[in-house]
């Protein structure tokens, strides 16, 4: 004798069945996203649906800042105006010399038959909100693929590099900050040209200069700029200032902490630079193995 409930008590599949269906679906999505990055197009679709909602959620904060900026005192405006006029004057002088320098540089480069540097265009964008994922450091800006923002482009503010476009949605873009744990930036010490890579530490105001030997010639207060050898970041953008060095002979590498120069948390305007022209092809591996360091396995093959 079967004890199935009469049809009017039927409530579809059981709770556990429904849970397993949705859990398996989520796990498939997770696996596809984490391993193969298959989910980017679907993510874009959801982002387009979410876009008006995000704009709507931004309204109260926007209104608040507008109201507060309306009640600015006269003296504050005057002071700011004075400062801007002074800055403008200084910049005009710099700009005039720079134009001469650009012309001279072009001339020298053509004399030396070097590859010409491409003029970079840029798009200014405004930070909509900070990413809420506690595992990564990201910001979302209000310009996207429709405004010619490409994935991988460098993002700067008026004082230095802040990050890289990690995802470009149609009208918004996600920027991975240089303080993100998975973000590495190839840099160069201005003082002596020493090359290194800085990594984010996962929290504000600190970067980690890894894999520098204990006796590396580096000092507190050294300025780090992008080296440009990765073909992603243009050379010469200020990145960080060395703030603390721990040299312990017990470890192979010195522990060097830096402070980012760009004020990611202090202002909302950023500049997204266009992608650089692709670097020339990496030379085919004739004598060196493909990996950066020769591994024992490669030796066995050779």
């Amino acid at each position: 004798m079967e004890y199935t409930p009469p049809p009017f008590f039927k409530r579809g599949p059981s709770l556990l069945t429904r849970l397993s269906f949705f859990a398996v679906l989520s796990l498939i999505l997770l696996y596809a996203d984490a391993r193969f990055h298959y989910m980017e197009s679907m993510r874009k679709v959801v982002a387009v649906v979410l876009y008006p909602l995000q704009q709507l959620a931004d309204v109260p904060g926007d209104l608040g800042s507008r109201v507060s900026s309306f009640f600015v005192t006269q003296s504050l405006l005057q002071r700011e105006n004075e400062r801007l006029a002074r800055d403008n004057f200084l910049n005009a002088g710099l700009l005039q010399t720079q134009q001469a320098l650009i012309a001279e540089n072009l001339h020298l480069r053509s004399l030396l038959e070097m590859q010409e540097r491409v003029e970079q265009s840029s798009v200014s964008a405004e930070i909509l909100y900070f990413g809420r994922d506690p595992f990564s450091r990201k910001v979302i800006v209000d310009k996207g693929a429709m405004q010619d923002i490409e994935e991988g482009a460098a993002v700067v503010d008026d004082t230095g590099l802040i990050g890289q476009v990690s995802r470009a949605f149609p009208w918004t873009a996600e920027i991975a900050l240089i303080t993100d744990r998975e973000q590495g930036v190839p840099v160069q010490v201005v003082r002596n040209g020493l090359r290194a890579v800085v990594f984010g530490m996962g929290y504000d105001g600190a970067l980690d200069l890894r894999f520098m030997p204990v006796n590396a010639e580096i000092e507190n207060g050294d300025v780090l700029v992008t080296s440009g050898i990765d073909g992603v970041y243009p050379a010469g953008l200020p990145v960080a200032v060395v703030s603390n060095i721990e040299r312990n002979a017990a470890y192979p590498f010195a522990k060097i902490t830096c402070t980012p120069t760009a004020g990611v948390n202090s202002h909302r305007q950023v500049l997204v630079l266009s992608r650089l022209a692709p670097l020339p092809e990496y030379p085919a591996a004739s004598e060196t193995p493909k990996g950066a360091k020769p591994r024992p396995k490669a030796r066995k093959g050779g």
Partner: protein, 176 residues
């Protein structure tokens, strides 16, 4: 409408029936609250309003809400947060299961004791997210990562008042 001795534990008023559109409206409002551009310690303390709303309806109206809204809102939160695709979807689905599974038990208690259940369910939800991130090679965030569960549980009585406010029958002034 409770039997005998349990009457004092829960509110005794009879509420109007909940319309699905009303549930959808509250979930939408919760999503908007989650999308607010917050920074700093406010963001650290901010409860997951979507999780709280889903949990509330899962416990109080398990017949009118299911896994699909939880899953879809999870996907929306994944995109909005820039986190792994499906991590919130999985966590919200698990949370919805806990809510529907425990709804008879939780609604037996008064609000203070419901908060204790809620904090455990929210913490379990966050642990799932943490587990997913660990499996995908993430690093442990600080202990503050779990703060939203506690603020969420503290907001439970407020959520109860807000969600049931439009459902209270109008009081007739002539009916002294």
């Amino acid at each position: 409408m409770r039997i005998g001795g349990f009457g004092h534990l829960v509110s005794e008023e009879i509420l109007l029936p909940v319309k699905p559109a009303y549930i959808a409206l509250t979930l939408f409002a919760a999503l908007m609250l989650n999308l607010l551009p917050l920074t700093g310690w406010v963001l650290t303390l901010r409860p997951d309003f979507v999780a709280l709303a889903l949990l509330y309806w899962g416990i109080h109206q398990p017949r009118k809400i299911g896994f699909l809204p939880a899953w879809l809102l999870g996907l929306a939160m994944d995109v909005a947060d820039g986190s792994l695709f499906g991590q919130h979807a999985l966590a919200y689905s698990m949370m919805m299961f806990a809510a529907i599974f425990l709804h008879r038990r939780v609604s037996m208690f008064d609000l203070r004791h419901q908060m204790l259940h809620v904090v455990v369910i929210l913490l379990a939800m966050q642990l799932i997210v943490l587990g997913v991130r660990q499996a995908a090679g993430g690093e442990l965030p600080g202990w503050w990562y779990f703060l939203p569960s506690f603020t969420g549980a503290l907001l439970w009585p407020l959520a109860h008042v807000v969600f049931t406010a439009p459902l209270r029958p109008r009081h007739d002034p002539d009916d002294a």
